[in-house]
Symmetry: D3
Subunit: 246 residues, 6 copies
């Protein structure tokens, strides 16, 4: 089985970390094809970065579709471009944010999210509400760690994330904690042992969900919201994104 | 990996069908241990059957826990006893109803459920609301097929279920349909091809979710709702269900 | 009028306290028939005890139905088995939890619940949400008093409950407080005077609601969710619970 | 026990019907004191009539308070002035709309409301949402019967109401139906037998709830939303409504 | 364009302040016709004052309608009588509460409300819920300033309001703050500069919304909830409020 | 006052129609600066087009910001890129979808939306839910008119839209109808007269809301969700979108 995991920001070191986390849980017969976006922001922090990450993400999806894959994973916790990717792709598409929320719902009555900067909280809260899983989430907390600090071995990012997890458990009665950034994928297991509650990494969850969809033969419904894009001209710099006749 | 799948009703032929559906999607290194409840109703249709299915279900969970398993699946679409089983078990527990809802949420913007008898609709609607996934579900429909009719090769159950799926697609704008009974597990693929939308079987979904939790090393949080039962005396016929000191 | 009030745990001293609280508010022409469950947990604390309390509860309902009663009251604040009992019984059935919530809604704009252990909070929150009355409830708080401590005259249970009521009034702007355990029935009036807000005991509320339903000639609808259980075989230890032909 | 039931419109014949319905269910030791508003609309149909019915309603509440009563009932299905009356009165106040909704919630999983004119639907829907009970209500339907037609023995009002109840049961899966006007109080029992589902009259429900509050010693919380009106000057025609120092 | 702005309490000094705030934002071709209620409470603080303010408000609306205006503004933050006024008037009607909420929704992701007394919180919360904008509002806070204190130059009202705004920004993550009383209209700009977030005055918002409706030619729909009141007799002191044949 | 209105698709004829509709309602002292996106889809129909419209939209916003404007309007009913534009711009930003929803909420109790293709329904429903205004919207209906058909004088688009409005009024009890596409801006007034209910054009609404914000001196809060984008490198084709130091 071939699973395409795309990092919609342009920081390759983060892609490597994501791919490593994905391969740890992937089944023996699963190939993880990791890609880094070729255009857009070096990290996704808030609504503006989210918007400009979309063309690079969708280009990567198109490329993987022609190569042929069994599923796509969008490795940004904002689930950047998830709906557009589902309309574009034939293979199923999973966001690591939704993956973390759904899996946390299976092992806890109420979970919290610990993310990077406060400006990411509204994106995550809006996603939770759309998915319906805000009813299961008791808090979305920011650790005030910038995404790229997670790539810096000298930063105290881990300590600040751990402190915030502690607050979620004590103050919000969180029974599990979802890590709110792909760049935290390598921290989940150790933080879980440290705090005595499940700490959920969306990347690992997304890989197993992608394998599950592929094995059950389920893919995105093309009736309704995710119908293929209609063929039409696109202008200017994005002309080559124009949907072809289907 | 050993996955315990328990049919909380006492009809062994349904257990066989469930186990077969589970094995189709299970990974090469996964053993499916199927069990049939030893006490209670022959089929679960409404609140009363649900209540009386619980002791048999929980006895099966306890037995499997001592045998040692990596996950439990409750193979009744009502997710009968899910919360109690999570409090009881060390291994994670998944209901086939929630499994179907979560997976359908990954491949459609709105899904419908087609179940057996009208009396099962309130149980399913209440579960969807608790999970938060009522926001994703556009309708819960009954096919007026009794559960045990699904075991009768001569019944027209399949035709009535197919007709109801058609109505969900046309009248409710359902993009995917979740089959609302474990006894329908063998019908999903063919009905999906027939209607041109994903038709989701909760049994298959639950197996891949269980494998996913096991591979990611996630299990039920014991902080809060699912803390182990407190040791106390139980009287009468159920005395042997008394929780032991933990 | 004959009102059957069943304590779904097996602790007779709690039944006596419940019956006394019920008789204080019952009308002159009302007989209170109090019963204690003959099988299952000595106290109900969390999802596992809830599940195993159901057979004993339903057996008591069946017995009272044959004796002939005008209404049933389930005297556990979790409203254990309420839906199953409604499907089973011809006479109306009221849970003391819902009774407290509905009555508190008539005398306050927002109320809080003060219960026993934290593990009971999720059950109560889920009930409030199903009833729709979570919109009226500003907090569900635990006093960290075990149910059976309420039977121990030497415990400081009352002081801890009173302290929690104080917090609900000050910190949650609670205008009324519902006591979240049948074992607290004898404390309501004094705690209300102490805190200057209505303190609501679900047992007393349920008695007057049961009398009200009987006097208005209203009973559980048998169209839909609460249709009588279908006749079918039940196996093993629970064979005698099999519904008879109706 | 003395229960004050006020008809907030100025049609005395409707008050008589309401008082009769109240006395049928009232306990032997309960006096029903029925009052008709002395100022305002002859019937309440929509937001404008609701607004102008308030002074007459509140004047009647004040009068009954000085006479001394154990509870007040507002006999308009819109629960006209319920919040203001609760702030004004020392005795508890119940609206027949909320009374019907709460009691219907105890005997059905989902209920419908059948009211008079379409313009009353928004008032009722807004009340259901505020109470939280919109989650239990599957439809609010209008029978296109004007309130005063209910006072006309020659009208076909009953037939139109019955037809709408039939639609609610068939099309909305309503398990019980609440009659949405005080003027329908005399029809409930017969319509219930006709349709085979509970048909709920808010007047009867309110009487038993009022008796219940009085017997349990519960009254409106004065902490928060229902604190007594602050003393201040009122001008003009309504000067005599100015709250006195408390 | 002629915009009628009515202060539904009887304190003329507050009307002057409201009119001044309105004229600051009104367009060059807009006449602001300010009116003070001729009957009822000197200030509106809680449900009882709200109820008795309605006749004076509706009388003012009727008077302005005959004079001919392009829009009505109800200058009480409770949006007192908004629905009744919409049914009564041909011209559109805007409440300053809803005006503030809608405009705050256009410039912030989540806003808070800072009002006068705690007893006003439930009215405001109920309005937010009906409008749907409770989803955008993170808190409704009371400054414990009585309405008429805002008319007293010697009071420390402004300081207490400012302190509460500070808490909303720090503790509730409010991105904007809506001032919850017409009497605060003159404070918005300065408080906004002080706290570095938009501070919204409902009066100014309502004026621009009223101009907008008039310029786009939109007025209240008369199909459904706001159909003109039906002609019928009104009795007693309020006889002259009886709707005329339309 | 200078208001920048950007058509995020690349079809200039639609921009002309939008600008004309905007100028009809704009005040005498308002300049409408209309812009057409320079890159991306010729029309926006569903999630994929939405995503690829963002760079062109944000480029236009940046350009207008340097030119200096008092407000921005995004003239696509999907409110494409609204959050990103708010984070980017100093001047307030309004989407025509939210503008139509908010204004419709001021003149009706429940409104419907009539849009172009079924695939746009999920985008609109998701927006309504985020704004909270789904509670006010009774239906989102598709007329099966492609966006560019609206530019074709020979198509029967108007007839199909009118038919759908009729269904919304009859079947959904819609009191007002919001036209769900910028390309319908010229049809509102005539369709309103035809159907006897307000028909709302989001473009006109957005212009008056933008003027209102500018006149009240309110602009997007920069505390929280809409903080300016952090300075960071952007790669490849989108490198010039990199946020500058603020």
């Amino acid at each position: 089985m071939r699973i395409h995991i795309v990092n919609p920001n342009t920081t390759a070191s983060m892609t490597d970390k994501i791919a490593a986390a994905a391969r740890v849980v992937a089944g023996p017969d699963t190939d993880i094809l990791a890609a880094t976006s070729a255009m857009g922001p070096a990290s996704i922090e808030g609504f503006y970065d989210d918007a400009l990450a979309l063309p690079g993400l969708l280009a990567a999806i198109t490329e993987a579709e022609s190569a042929g894959v069994d599923a796509h994973i969008i490795a940004c916790f904002d689930d950047t471009g998830l709906d557009a990717a589902r309309a574009l792709a034939g293979a199923p598409v999973i966001g690591i944010g939704e993956a973390g929320f759904h899996m946390a719902s299976l092992i806890s009555h109420r979970f919290a999210v610990v993310t990077t900067l406060a400006r990411s909280i509204p994106v995550i809260e809006a996603n939770l509400q759309r998915y319906g899983l805000d009813r299961r989430c008791c808090a979305v907390r920011a650790s005030d760690v910038a995404v790229l600090e997670l790539e810096d071995p000298l930063s105290d990012a881990r300590a600040r994330i751990s402190a915030e997890i502690g607050r979620a458990v004590r103050e919000d009665r969180a029974e599990a904690v979802v890590l709110g950034c792909a760049g935290m994928a390598d921290l989940a297991r150790a933080l879980g042992e440290e705090h005595g509650v499940p700490v959920v990494d969306g990347v690992a969850c997304a890989v197993t969900l992608a394998e599950g969809l592929a094995r059950t033969g389920l893919t995105t419904s093309k009736a309704g919201a995710y119908a293929p894009p209609r063929s039409k001209p696109y202008l200017g710099r994005l002309a080559d994104f124009a949907p072809r006749e289907t």
